[in-house]
């Protein structure tokens, strides 16, 4: 095996829910400093793969390494943006408070968030374009603002690997542009970003790497090499007619 250090290394990962495999024998290596999309049909195990890599669910077999060490020891290097629908936005708290939660891991058990955490949270809110919302009750946010709040919370974690579960789900064009700019900034500073993504049309434009998943790993690598019609058909079955034009364009030159 080469000595090159991978940001994420998944070996033989299998996850089962009630005897039914959700992920089957996944091997995956992700080099540092890239934007990678995980795509696949519903029920393909995209979120499961992400949750297993984060240590939120225990796999039946296999292991996940972050920068060469088991993922549970490397949690301080990992940030997470869950699906925004996974929490109750009527919870009694403010935007700034939610963003500050990103520092709870580094603060440990005893220390309270103070001035330093407040400054970091405000900087993150500025990056996502929401400094004016710091004291806003979170139930007053639009869907796009909720998403950007979660993104800001991950930014204050100051991690090296970012996992994001469908950050573009149901957001408006403004927010989508804001998010993609942040993803590119993260990549520019050497971070690795893994995104569960649904919109096949934008994979080529937004990401450098892609993993095609349908319980098994169908293909993975640089978008130019593996995001092909054949691989997509293997992943989605026959239901990808709309992609033909896209892949044809790629064949005739592309990037």
């Amino acid at each position: 095996m080469s000595q090159k250090e991978y940001a994420i290394q998944v070996e033989d990962l299998t996850v089962a829910y009630r005897d039914k495999p959700a992920l089957w024998d996944i091997d995956l290596t992700v080099p540092p400093g890239i934007l990678m999309a995980i795509v696949g049909p519903n029920g393909a195990g995209k979120t499961t793969l992400m949750k297993a890599a984060l240590g939120l669910i225990t796999p039946a077999a296999g292991k996940v390494l972050i920068y060469g060490r088991p993922h549970l020891e490397q949690r301080h290097l990992v940030a997470y943006v869950p699906q925004r629908g996974s929490v109750d936005w009527d919870f009694p708290t403010t935007v700034l408070d939610v963003v500050t939660m990103g520092r709870y891991g580094a603060l440990g058990w005893v220390r309270r968030p103070g001035r330093r955490e407040r400054v970091m949270a405000m900087e993150a809110l500025e990056k996502v374009g929401m400094p004016a919302f710091a004291d806003r009750q979170i139930s007053q946010l639009s869907g796009g603002q909720q998403q950007r709040t979660f993104l800001a919370r991950a930014l204050v974690q100051d991690a090296r690997v970012y996992f994001m579960d469908e950050p573009f789900q149901g957001v408006d064009a403004t927010t989508e542009r804001a998010i993609i700019k942040i993803l590119r900034d993260l990549r520019a500073s050497g971070k690795t970003v893994v995104v569960v993504h649904h919109d096949l049309q934008t994979v080529r434009e937004y990401f450098d790497w892609v993993t095609l998943l349908n319980v098994r790993r169908i293909a993975g690598g640089p978008v130019g090499e593996v995001f092909t019609e054949d691989n997509l058909r293997l992943t989605y079955g026959g239901r990808i007619g709309f992609l033909h034009a896209e892949t044809a364009r790629e064949k005739n030159g592309g990037e």
Binding site: G55, L56, S86, T94, Y104, S142
Partner: protein
């Protein structure tokens, strides 16, 4: 009894002081911990735990033959725990959902408790007398010694809430994210649930297994109406719980044949009713007034827009029309005349002659503003 007398007794009458202090402690602890139960959508868990405590109490008596509060409380806690584990087990191992599992365990345990209670009461041994007070509680039996135990347990529970404030907040808002940070979420979950068990068993003797869940849910639900911060909510819920506890104790002691536990719950219901109707922003009255305001505004705007549309058919925004014509095109036919009068008071329309209406220049500006407001905006 007059107010001064009540206040005097509150401090100097042994029985009333003990009961009031005990009830205040119950309200304080169950109110603050209840916030987490409500926010985590586990309101029913408190109900299941307190009902499930009954067989534990009776079984503890059968096994030991003692009615010492500590023995009974340990039995209650053990049964509450067993019930919680069963609920979690059912959810994990079967296809039943959380609510069904709770309803099932609640009724099975409570039924078992009633069976055991009836069995014990049939025994010739007279020492069982008084166990049935755990059904609806009996505050009069509280001793200063019991209140001291309750106060110690309350301090422990509240200390945990303060020390693990951030952790409990994250556990309640976004447990998956907390786990990704490396927080021991399962441990925190068990800890918080155990504190809820403590809060419930503190109140069992006074309020009883049937009504105890109201002490968990009602203060939290009321407090949520008044504040948008977790700290404010926990504080207010504790205050509401304690307030209901003290007023219930005072009312029941100043009238004959008034049971303390149910009286506390009635006081709590009043707080809930006031909070649900009157609280700013979330209260029903507030929301109703807000809806009325926006209805009224929409009606006025629609009358104004109709007037404008009709006038522009003549190429002159000040062209006047009769009410009949406006009624014919309006989407709110009944409200046209009242709407016009209100608009006239605001100086947006005028009557050049009786029964004929036209826009004023200010009204025209308002129309432009409304049209601008209808265009799509940047979010």
């Amino acid at each position: 009894m007059d107010l001064a007398g009540i206040i005097h007794d509150l401090f100097f009458d042994y029985t009333l002081r003990t009961i009031a202090l005990g009830s205040a402690i119950i309200g304080l602890v169950s109110g603050s911990l209840g916030c987490y139960a409500v926010l985590r959508r586990q309101s029913l868990l408190g109900d299941a735990m307190s009902h499930a405590a009954l067989p534990g109490i009776v079984a503890a008596f059968i096994l030991t033959g003692s009615k010492a509060p500590l023995v009974l409380v340990l039995g209650a806690a053990a049964a509450g725990w067993l019930a919680t584990l069963k609920i979690i087990g059912i959810v994990r191992l079967t296809r039943l959902k959380y609510d069904a599992a709770m309803a099932l365990i609640l009724s099975v345990f409570f039924g078992l408790g009633l069976v055991l209670l009836t069995y014990v009461q049939r025994q010739p041994n007279a020492s069982q007398a008084g166990l049935e007070t755990f059904l609806f509680g009996q505050a009069a039996a509280l001793l200063a010694r019991d209140v001291i135990v309750m106060a110690i347990l309350a301090c422990v529970a509240l200390a945990f809430v303060v020390v693990f404030w951030n952790q409990f907040k994250l556990l309640s808002f976004d447990p998956d994210f907390g786990k990704s940070l490396g927080l021991p979420i399962s441990f925190l979950d068990v800890l918080l649930t155990s504190l809820l068990v403590i809060a419930i068993i503190i109140g069992l003797q006074t309020v009883g297994v049937v009504l105890m869940s109201a002490m968990v849910v009602a203060p939290a639900a009321s407090a949520r109406q008044w504040t948008d911060r977790l700290g404010g909510m926990v504080f207010l819920a504790a205050v509401f719980g304690a307030l209901a506890g003290v007023s219930g104790a005072v009312i029941s002691s100043s009238m004959a044949h008034m049971p303390t536990g149910p009286t506390i719950i009635v006081c709590l219901s009043l707080i809930v009713a006031v909070s649900l109707t009157l609280a700013p922003n979330r209260g029903l009255l507030w929301r109703w007034a807000g809806r009325r305001r926006s209805h009224r505004r929409l009606r006025l705007e629609s009358v104004l827009a109709d007037l404008y549309a009709m006038a522009m058919q003549h190429g002159d925004y000040q062209h006047a029309h009769e009410i009949g014509a406006l009624n014919a095109v309006s989407s709110v036919p009944g409200g046209v005349e009242a709407g016009l009068r209100a608009l006239e008071n605001q100086g947006l329309v005028s009557q050049p002659s009786a029964g004929r209406w036209r826009l004023t220049p200010a009204g025209m500006d308002k129309v432009k503003e409304i049209i601008r407001g209808m265009e799509p905006r940047e979010l």
